[in-house]
């Protein structure tokens, strides 16, 4: 298991380096003079020249990349051009908001999705199964931005149950502010996880060890919840790991629509203003988050199912 974990994290590091390098090259390939865009029309030539030198934009791209990784190894993500603040501070100030949002979405969508899927699998081809299927597919098909706007209009404007914008202050207020955005970006995952769990469960329920358990007279609820679900949940763990990436991208629009702080909004604003240090800092952290979450999902999978370790 330890060897497997080391190999998995080595691969994660490699993926991180490739992803960050590609992003580094892509942002430099986008048209437009970053210094001119950053400083605006009225910046003096001296200031433009100084910033160009500070960001090493007068160097060849390969050299800029070497400088970037050199600084990164020393834990230096640079300084924000506009505010003069440390990029590390800025990114880590926004990160908790995005993590809250993603975790909130995953927790509620996985809990409900697994429940719905397991229940439908336990009652296959019944009315309940068909209703659950219809609901799940509807959830998957509902575009998150439509859900976001409708939930804002219904729950924030009309009913005034939840706040419309911001991230709140203090634990309970933050939780209250999390409800609508987490609902909006998590809804389609409920349907997706429910369908996945149902299919996986039905497959597992037909296997010999389940039949054996039933033959031993073990309570049906225990068969479903312990023997079947433990195996059936494996693909869900993997999907949730990969889903972190999708939720990170969904968080971008959620942060805009709900006017929440967060990494996604930070990246969008920084790309628009060609604020390279912030873009790279944010990309590094969000890519790292994605890579680590998928690696963790693989490790949990391997822990739950020893066959996964040998297969890899």
């Amino acid at each position: 298991m330890l060897l497997y974990a080391l190999r998995r994290f080595g691969l994660a590091l490699l993926i991180l380096i490739v992803a960050v390098t590609v992003m580094f090259l892509m942002i430099r390939a986008v048209p437009g003079d970053p210094v001119q865009i950053m400083l605006g029309p009225r910046a003096t030539p001296e200031l433009q020249a100084r910033l160009t030198a500070e960001l090493a934009l007068d160097q060849p791209v390969w050299k800029q990349l070497v400088i970037f990784y050199g600084n990164l190894l020393q834990g230096d993500l640079g300084i924000d051009v506009f505010s003069g603040r440390s990029v590390t501070d800025i990114v880590f100030q926004q990160l908790p908001h995005t993590l809250w949002l993603i975790l909130g979405s995953i927790i509620w969508s996985a809990t409900l999705g697994i429940g719905l899927g397991a229940y439908a699998a336990a009652h296959p081809n019944t009315l309940i199964d068909r209703v659950t299927a219809a609901i799940s597919v509807s959830f998957v098909a509902a575009p998150a931005f439509v859900v976001a706007l409708l939930s804002l209009l219904v729950f924030a404007v009309h009913l005034q149950w939840f706040p419309a914008i911001g991230a709140g202050e203090g634990f309970w207020d933050r939780l209250n502010h999390l409800v609508l955005p987490a609902f909006a970006i998590g809804l389609s995952w409920v349907g997706y996880i429910a369908r996945l769990v149902r299919a996986s469960m039905l497959e597992v329920m037909g296997e010999s060890h389940i039949r054996t358990a039933r033959a031993f007279g073990i309570n049906e609820r225990r068969v479903v919840m312990v023997y079947a679900l433990r195996i059936a949940i494996l693909p869900v763990v993997t999907v949730i790991g990969v889903g972190m990436g999708f939720l990170l991208s969904s968080a971008v629009f959620a942060e805009i629509v709900f006017a929440r702080p967060g990494l996604g909004k930070l990246v969008i604003d920084s790309i628009t203003t060609r604020n390279y240090p912030i873009v790279m800092g944010s990309v590094l952290i969000s890519t790292g988050l994605f890579v680590v979450s998928t690696a963790l999902a693989d490790l949990i999978n391997a822990w739950l199912d020893p066959r996964a370790r040998t297969a890899n």
Binding site: V30, P31, G32, D33, P34, Q36, I37, L39, G40, P41, R42, A43, T44, E46, L47, R50, F82, S83, G84, R85, I90, Q93, Q94, L149, L152, L153, A156, V157, Q160, P163, A164, I165, G166, A167, I256, V257, F258, A259, R260, P261, G262, K265, L266, D269, I271, T272, R274
Partner: protein, 520 residues
């Protein structure tokens, strides 16, 4: 936070020196009376379209920073809320134009800086203004101060602003706006001359209480403020980029004041939720279709004129701005010196004349590329222009660009037609500065170059005779239009909504002057 300072002899005699000062001083209580009476406390929540970038006026990025700076700092003079551009006294007890290059001022004796940095003195004014124009500061806002030479300190609270040459915009964009904010010399020097996002010393009616990046800036009353008490205890400034989100937040009761989208104006004209009110202000922005005079395809003036006459401005505005804005006559907005009552080419298209001009040009099978930003308003406008030019046989390919790529168009030698929009401060000098020969290759994307225009731009800023200035700037816009390189579209608009309990204090272009916001 305790402020200690001694009173300086800014006497009544000094106060009475300037007739301008008298007028402004008389107007001041009228403007603030309502606020003072309504000052009962509470929290005002307003939307800003972006987040704070710098607390240092020398590096202010514009309106977003200025909304905060104007509340926590003082200037000699401030914009006066209302529908017409005017200013009122702020930190100045007296200010007068001695001659064309000298402006005398005396500070009030009751303004001090926080964090123990003492009373505001003329040395602070000198430091604040001179550092803006100093080369070593590298302030992007340096042009606003124009030909400032230096500030002479003649007393503890008296001084004279000395210009190298006359500069009329000093009164309209330098002193009452970004560069006019007075900071504490001692505080800045103690910090090594630089401030980033944390205030070093504040002096305004509000103090910045907290800043959560991308989330909220909170301003609280300055307990040591000796001027007219602001109406609100707390002001929360929420950075919300998306106007639709801001509208929803307002309707949910989470905002008291916000700019709204032009597409929502008609809906709010029919009624603003929660007893709110819609206010419609003109904007200073100017939007136009430009033609690159250096491009081989656009060398023929008759062709350019045909394009001018074939674009139906009302149709563009109806489709792209939902009919909520008026056609413009040039780059200088109504209410400012130099605004033209009408353009040379009427806003309505004249297809017969356009076809006639095209025939005279001898050009056939004309195909042109139109560059525009990837915003719905501009892409819609581009499509209408594409359709109207097609009526006279000109084919237009719309090239939609992301903002970074679009704003790098100065280097694009293949630029042909461009749908553009610039922002503006309340002085015509600011608008004409982008179309001079010197700006070719920078912000003058049409590559328009005209000696008379350049001369007007230089000399009109030195005139104090407003009527003469207006005439000169009108002539400058005539020259632009006569070149055939411009089809002026609109100055857009600033529609805002506010809740029932708020009395907004706005500039004539609809931007908020938060320190003057009152209660209903």
């Amino acid at each position: 936070m305790k402020i200690e300072w001694t009173k300086a002899p800014v006497g009544r005699r000094n106060f009475l020196k300037g007739a301008t000062a008298l007028g402004a001083a008389a107007a001041l209580p009228m403007g603030l009376g309502g606020r003072a009476m309504a000052a009962e406390g509470g929290t005002l929540r307003v939307r800003s379209y972006g987040d704070l970038q710098s607390i240092d006026p020398a590096f202010s990025k514009g309106v977003i920073d200025e909304e905060i700076h104007a509340s926590i700092y003082n200037k000699l003079i401030q914009y006066k809320p209302g529908r017409e551009w005017d200013w009122q006294m702020d930190a100045a007890a007296m200010i007068e134009q001695g001659d064309e290059t000298h402006i005398k001022f005396a500070l009030r004796d009751d303004i001090g800086f926080t964090n123990g940095f003492g009373a505001m003195t003329a040395e602070d004014v000198k430091f604040s203004f001179e550092r803006i124009v100093a080369d070593e500061t590298e302030s992007p806002n340096k042009p606003d101060m124009g030909p400032l030479s230096h500030v002479e300190v003649t007393g503890e609270r008296e001084g004279t602003i000395v210009l190298k040459e006359p500069f009329a915009p000093l009164w309209s964009i330098a002193l009452p706006y970004i560069t006019g904010n007075i900071v504490s010399k001692k505080a800045w020097e103690a910090a090594g001359g630089k401030a980033t996002t944390d205030p070093l010393a504040e002096s305004g009616p509000y103090l910045r209480d907290s800043w959560s990046p991308k989330e909220k800036t909170v301003l609280k009353r300055n307990p040591d403020w000796k001027g007219d008490a602001p109406a609100w205890d707390t002001i929360e400034i929420l950075p919300i980029d998306d106007e639709n989100t801001a509208e929803i937040a307002f309707e949910a009761g989470e905002l008291d004041f916000t700019r709204v989208s032009l597409g929502s104006v008609q809906r709010y004209r029919d009624g603003v939720p929660n007893g709110g009110t819609l206010l419609e202000y003109p904007s200073l922005y100017y939007t136009w279709l430009g033609m690159n005079l250096d491009h081989p395809k656009l060398q023929n003036k008759k062709l350019r004129q045909a394009i001018q006459h074939a674009i139906d401005v009302p149709s563009v505005l109806e489709a792209a701005y939902f009919g909520a804005v008026d056609p413009s006559t040039g780059i200088i907005a109504p209410g400012l010196a130099g605004n033209r009552p009408q353009s040379l080419v009427p806003p309505q298209a004249d297809f017969a004349k356009a076809a006639e001009l095209l025939a005279e040009s001898g050009e056939t099978n004309v195909t042109l590329k139109l560059d525009t930003l990837n915003k719905t308003t501009f892409t819609t406008a581009a499509q209408v222009i594409q359709a109207t030019l097609a009526q006279i046989g000109i084919t237009v390919e719309v090239n939609v660009l992301e903002s970074g790529a679009f704003w790098a168009s100065a280097d694009n030698e293949d630029l042909q037609l461009v749908l553009n929009r610039y922002s503006m401060t309340p002085d015509p000098y600011y608008a004409t500065s982008w179309f001079t020969t010197e700006q070719v290759g920078h912000w003058n994307w049409e590559r328009f170059s005209n000696d008379e225009y350049d001369q007007i731009h230089t000399s009109a800023s030195q005139l104090t005779d407003q009527a003469k200035r207006a005439e000169m700037y009108q002539r400058a816009q005539d020259l632009m239009e006569e070149s055939g390189a411009y089809r002026f579209l609109t100055h857009e608009a600033t529609p805002v909504i506010h809740s029932a309990g708020v009395v907004p204090a706005l500039r004539p272009d609809g931007l908020a002057l938060l320190r003057y916001f009152g209660k209903a």
